[in-house]
């Protein structure tokens, strides 16, 4: 009798639960850096992600979603604490948003060890791309090294022989220098690890001038990048020693900060606002319409991450309980990326093309990044071979 009762109760409960489930939106935990000098990076990613949801009428891939945003303040500990709270109290299973690799290193293990899914829209440190790759960890942006491999290849293509390299002393900085050196065929004149919170680069500028290289490669995202670029200009180096960088070291905000002196800087990127595909045109136009500013690559990645998650949700009918099904749907990458060709490699990191850009003055007299040529085609990443997925 008891058995019948409980079965009946279960049936009733599930009948009640199903319509309720269909109504409740899928919550997406969006942990990102919104405060401090790196704050505009997180804000750009968040705004673009929200734009994709709004364009879908509050839905991604036909599934209603709700974005729950919190600021990690670029502190790994804070990121981890938010994750625990999101997972326990809010029952969130799907996470994205992190900009900085050191925060990601604290958050991603917490998510994937507790049967959640992490979809990275920016940070992708080397230690999660190789042996430690995980079926519940996806990257839509790039692997850190690859970003700077493209700069290394670009410098080689441009015929530079002697490079001076600088990056902050944290995982993404080390990945940057490793990536650049892997594809740069010339000699390294000097190598400096700066600090992630550094504001004054005068000593580094003097070192660069003393070493007198052909070219300077540097990786300084967000606020530090602005300070670096301006002081490079103030030290009179911008006109004399060319600079080769990957996209994060010269986004549209930094470009505005440096002004005319940035003309001629060599940039390499997987995305640029001038890419000629329908998805990108719509994205750039809608982003500018809604937020009244140019999107950065962080925004493009945020938008792509939203589209990728949307495609996965569509494939599973809006469910994320069955991680296997979600993963299969995700890996199809059935969405129109703003960067054109996009697919996932065996380590669930992107396989994509890289382009050389240059800072030039447009017809309207405004400085802009202009796409020049392809640097790398269908590039996966260095660590994919160590991943056994």
């Amino acid at each position: 009798m008891n058995f019948v009762k409980s079965v009946a109760a279960a049936v009733v409960a599930s009948c009640l639960a199903v319509p309720a489930m269909a109504q409740a939106p899928v919550k997406i935990g969006f942990i990102t850096t919104l405060s401090g000098p790196g704050g505009y990076l997180g804000a750009d990613a968040r705004d673009a992600f929200q734009l994709a949801i709004d364009l879908g009428g509050g839905k991604l891939g036909g599934t209603p979603v709700q974005l729950v945003v919190e600021d990690d303040a670029l502190k790994p500990g804070q990121g981890k604490e938010i994750t625990e709270r999101f997972m326990k109290n809010e029952k969130i299973k799907l996470f994205t948003g992190i900009i900085f690799s050191n925060v990601l290193a604290a958050v991603a293990p917490e998510v994937i060890d507790n049967d959640g899914v992490y979809v990275s829209l920016n940070a992708a440190p080397s230690n999660f791309a190789g042996k430690e790759c995980n079926p519940n960890y996806f990257v839509v942006s790039w692997q850190n090294d690859t970003l700077h491999e493209s700069a290394g290849q670009n410098a080689t293509n441009l015929g530079f022989k002697k490079a001076f390299v600088l990056a902050p002393n944290y995982q993404a900085g080390k990945d940057a220098i490793a990536g650049f050196k892997r594809f740069f065929k010339g000699e390294i004149a000097g190598e400096i690890y700066t600090r992630l919170d550094q504001t004054d680069f005068a000593p580094e500028m003097a070192q660069i001038r003393a070493a007198n290289p052909d070219v300077v490669f540097q990786f300084h995202p967000g606020g530090v990048g602005i300070a670096f670029a301006r002081q490079y200009q103030q030290a009179g180096l911008l006109g004399t020693i060319p600079m080769v960088v990957a996209a994060p070291s010269l986004d549209s905000v930094i470009l505005k900060a440096v002004g005319d002196a940035a003309q001629g800087v060599y940039v390499s990127s997987h995305w640029n606002a001038d890419f000629d595909n329908a998805s990108n045109k719509q994205f750039v136009a809608e982003f500018q319409k809604k937020y009244n500013r140019l999107p950065t690559a962080y925004a493009a990645q945020g938008y792509d991450a939203a589209l990728a998650i949307g495609a996965a949700l569509k494939g599973t009918g809006g469910k994320i309980d069955d991680l296997k099904a979600f993963r299969t749907a995700m890996l199809k990458a059935d969405f129109a990326s703003v960067r054109g060709a996009f697919k996932f490699g065996n380590n669930q990191h992107p396989v994509q093309d890289w382009y050389a850009l240059r800072v030039e003055k447009g017809a309207d007299g405004q400085l802009a990044l202009v796409t020049k040529s392809k640097v790398l085609t269908n590039r996966s990443d260095f660590y994919a071979k160590d991943c056994k997925l």
Binding site: E191, I192, Y193, T199, A202, P203, E204, G236, V253
Partner: protein
């Protein structure tokens, strides 16, 4: 040799920048006994006010005045509304309250100006480089920072040791109740001192603007180094802040500049040497602080003896 001179100048310049921040902080602590974590916020207020006025009017003189005034006024308002209630409380309460102020100021700045940084160009008059000795060119603007720092140090010295208000400040620091009993409005005096400290922070903010960017959270980046300066120099002592700031500025810069080369000569692997040098130079000033604390627990030039 040219490199050494240039790097030493860089160190001195960083030192003077730190001094401006540390002087305000140590003045407030030494005289009023308040730990003001929000000093970095006042630094930001000065930078923002100057940046906004410079963009609107194009006048750098007006911008500097606006920056100083904004920092001083907001500083005094902060003292009147919040800090005044904390004099009798212990340091933990002060830290909590002023930490709250940091959050308030940062969020307020985001609401008012957004997260996109503001930019100020170096005033055209101060742009360019100066030829110092054979082969050493140094940016004029950075020389001006050194000059302003020196003038401020001199001005503070005269103010504290040669004027009537300085005498009152010193007296108030030694015995608050006695000064009050003699009929001096000690509350007003404290508000003025706090405003002065805030103005010094604002001055540092104004001058940092053109070098880096004016953005939310810019104060917290320098605040920690400022505390190191104060601990090394001796808490509450302006002379200590001056010496401490120069030591920290020079040590920090020279470690960053020359340690990598030095280690590369000693170690087989270049990359490892660079990574190690990066680590050690980041720790350098904190190590220095620990050593100073071991040898002279009250700092190099403590306020009272």
């Amino acid at each position: 040799m040219a490199l050494l001179i240039e790097q030493s100048l860089n160190g001195i310049q960083l030192g003077f920048m730190l001094f401006l921040l540390a002087a305000g902080l140590t003045l407030i602590f030494g005289i009023m006994g308040v730990i003001n974590l929000a000093q970095g916020s006042l630094f930001m207020v000065g930078a923002y006010a100057a940046a906004v006025v410079a963009t609107q009017t194009g006048s750098y003189v007006l911008a500097a005045i606006a920056g100083l005034a904004a920092a001083a006024i907001i500083g005094m308002a902060m003292e009147y509304l919040v800090i005044r209630r904390l004099y009798a409380r212990d340091h933990l309460d002060q830290v909590l309250a002023t930490f709250g102020l940091i959050l308030f100021f940062n969020q307020m700045t985001v609401i008012l100006f957004g997260r996109q940084p503001l930019f100020v160009r170096i005033p055209p008059l101060l742009d360019g480089s100066v030829h110092i000795v054979a082969g050493v060119y140094y940016p004029l603007y950075r020389l001006v920072i050194i000059g302003v720092g020196l003038l401020t140090a001199l001005g503070l010295y005269i103010l504290i040791s040669r004027t009537r208000i300085g005498m009152l400040i010193r007296a108030g620091a030694t015995n608050r109740e006695m000064v009050r009993a003699l009929g001096v409005d000690i509350r007003l005096l404290y508000t003025i001192v706090f405003g002065l400290g805030a103005m010094l922070a604002g001055l540092a903010g104004i001058m940092t603007g053109p070098i880096s960017a004016v953005q939310v959270g810019m104060g917290e980046q320098v605040l920690i180094l400022t505390f190191v300066v104060i601990v090394i120099g001796g808490v509450g002592s302006i002379r200590g802040a001056f010496v401490g700031a120069l030591i920290v500025g020079i040590v920090d810069t020279l470690l960053r500049a020359f340690l990598p080369t030095l280690l590369r000569h000693m170690m087989a692997s270049g990359s490892e040497a660079d990574a190690l040098a990066g680590g050690i130079s980041a720790m350098g000033v904190y190590l220095l602080m620990a050593i100073v604390l071991l040898v002279r627990p009250k700092g190099l030039l403590p306020a009272n003896g």
